[in-house]
Symmetry: C2
Subunit: 385 residues, 2 copies
């Protein structure tokens, strides 16, 4: 914030937000029941359908992404319902905890953190549990940087009753995840990740199949009640007070997303993540995830590095904010996001601070090798711009 | 501004401003005659004395830097007064134009743009013109990136009546220029350069010797009347309506400057400019100025490069804003500033975009050599942070 006290945010949520969105949100507060706000809501709903690539309504809440995960659970299930949970990190764990909290019957596919689930594993568990109401999965497991094979898993469910519930909080807007085309039943997003907005909004969309299931769900729900929201939507309003300022920012962002196009956003993340991974390898470091997501790059901490001290030094002295590992990965990984208002040039800052920081902490890295590799990779991308 | 439409400003004024200053300036407008505003003015005046390293009052105007240059002229001179002008670029030319406009008698030390004046040249011209009322000079000639030897010239004037009038618009806050210690008679600054603020404010301080000369000056002056300002200062106010929002930003910035200390700021610019010059050389390019200033790095355009097209491409496609040359230097140089709210990491963006841009435009540069060199130079600086 301060002069020469700049912060460079490379955390996988919150992410840097564009000045235009921030200024839009700084407008005087309006009231959500005024007629002009209905117009805003209509525009947002259309923009969200474009982003989710769906004909269904996308509902939003003033909540963190976890709120929308909970909304999916309470609107779909009844106590005792069997659900298959892919648990390969912190957010898979969250699916399991939600299932347990609401007394569902979770069948957990538990993988080492850093692994990606294989479609065959899911197929096998499905075969043994044909009565499973749903599969709960992350498109991108943010805690490990892993991308799960959502498209392939969706294919397994084509002619089955089992629903596919996808936490796409760090995937939507980053790489392709067309809801209707792939037949995803529930897609969940959050504002401060793939959507490049401040935290505070979550999103959830239900397929027709999910809506049907939802009608017989008996779990208690009040705030996260999608039927109530659906009714309000018909009157171009919301059930409860919406986060007015955040929605103005969302409208601005959705306009920009349509202007740029989803293909552009996907190519952008693809170029940045590829350049980052290549730079990491050029520095002689190793990638952590089995199948890396384009949303963030997760690096194995070099042996002997005190990761906590390293990350604190970069943050407090140089203003560079990377993320470390959570829970069992604490001290073992470094996470750098490619989400948010970042260009290829910002990646130069991430990689140069990584190089300089590692050198300062006694890790033998070839200074300059990473940033050179970034340049080589992004040159092809930039020359098309 | 837009998402993925980020701008990276490397022009030698305006320069990037810290978010804290921008937010400070976004406060509701206050009135400049309210009692609390007097308190703000008193604090600003003390802060400016620290920055200028002087016991004298520093006056400010709502104007560009040129306004303060004009203020110096009209408050010091009478028609026909002889002044020695060091003209080695666009801003030396401005001194001459001001002198001509006010019908002074300028004796011009004219140098090729890119050259720095030598103290011996000034000594010789002084010997031939002992009746010169003043020497008008730039501390840093922004159009060429040259640093003139102000300290040495001040020494020549120690026991003389001739005043030294220093345009320090791109020098103050960047490198040492202690007004009282060096015996500078007039020091001029602008907000959007060395001070790292938005454009709109200019500053001028007079030594006791300059104040005495000022008393017999007969040039017409109304807005830029320092005696009027001095009287207003005694009542803790200003002669005319001050730029209220900009002054709130100035107060914030002056606080931060005292917090960091001038030494820190000077070391910072020294490190960034050294790293940039070294990177330029590592790319096989040439520096333009004879004696380079720490305020900006000026690069000779590689032969065959269409500089205008190159700068437009970087600006319009990649969001990187460098400056080209003015007037006779148009198409011949590229200017990159080190002023403003920039850290060593921002320099990585400047140099990588320079490398990538030159390569795209067919100039044979060793991709990665510049950024590597930046890292090597800033490593020593960063490890002290």
């Amino acid at each position: 914030m301060d002069f020469l006290g700049k912060r460079y945010l490379f955390t996988p949520g919150p992410v840097p937000v564009s000045p235009r969105v921030l200024l839009t949100q700084a407008q005087p507060i309006t009231h959500h029941r005024l007629p002009e706000f209905s117009e805003i809501l209509r525009e947002i709903r259309e923009g969200l359908k474009y982003l989710f690539q769906t004909k269904e309504e996308v509902y939003f809440f003033a909540s963190s992404g976890t709120g929308a995960m909970e909304a999916a659970i309470v609107n779909l299930f009844s106590p005792g319902d069997k659900v298959i949970v892919v648990e390969a990190g912190k957010f898979g764990e969250r699916w399991r905890e939600l299932a347990e909290t609401y007394r569902l019957h979770p069948v957990v596919i538990s993988l080492d953190w850093g692994r990606a689930v294989k479609p065959e594993m899911v197929e096998e568990v499905l075969r043994l549990n044909p009565d499973a109401k749903a599969i709960l999965i992350q498109a991108c497991e943010t805690s490990t940087g892993v991308k799960h094979p959502v498209e392939e898993i969706a294919k397994l469910l084509r002619d089955k009753e089992t629903l596919l519930v996808v936490d796409a909080i760090t995937a939507l807007g980053v790489y392709p995840l067309p809801m209707d085309e792939w037949g995803l039943d529930v897609v969940i997003a959050g504002s401060q990740k793939g959507l490049s907005l401040p935290p505070g909004l979550s999103f959830v969309a239900f397929s027709q199949k999910a809506k049907k299931v939802s009608q017989s769900a008996t779990l208690p729900r009040y705030y996260f009640n999608l039927q109530k929201e659906a009714k309000a939507y018909q009157k171009d309003t919301t059930a409860y007070t919406p986060a007015v300022s955040l929605l103005l920012g969302l409208r601005e962002m959705l306009r920009r997303i349509r202007e740029l196009g989803l293909d552009f956003l996907h190519r952008h993340s693809e170029a940045l993540s590829l350049a980052c991974r290549e730079a990491v390898l050029a520095l002689g470091l190793e990638l952590f995830p089995e199948i890396p997501s384009q949303s963030l790059t997760v690096i194995k901490a070099p042996s002997g590095l005190n990761t906590g001290e390293f990350l604190r030094h970069l943050r407090d002295r140089w203003g560079i904010v990377f993320a470390g590992g959570q829970d069992q990965l604490k001290g073992r990984i470094i996470r750098i996001t490619h989400m948010g208002d970042q260009t290829a040039f910002d990646l130069m800052i991430a990689i140069s601070s990584l190089e300089l920081g590692l050198k300062l902490f006694g890790v033998d890295v070839p200074l300059g090798a990473g940033v050179k590799r970034v340049e080589e990779v992004i040159f092809d991308y930039l020359k098309e711009r």
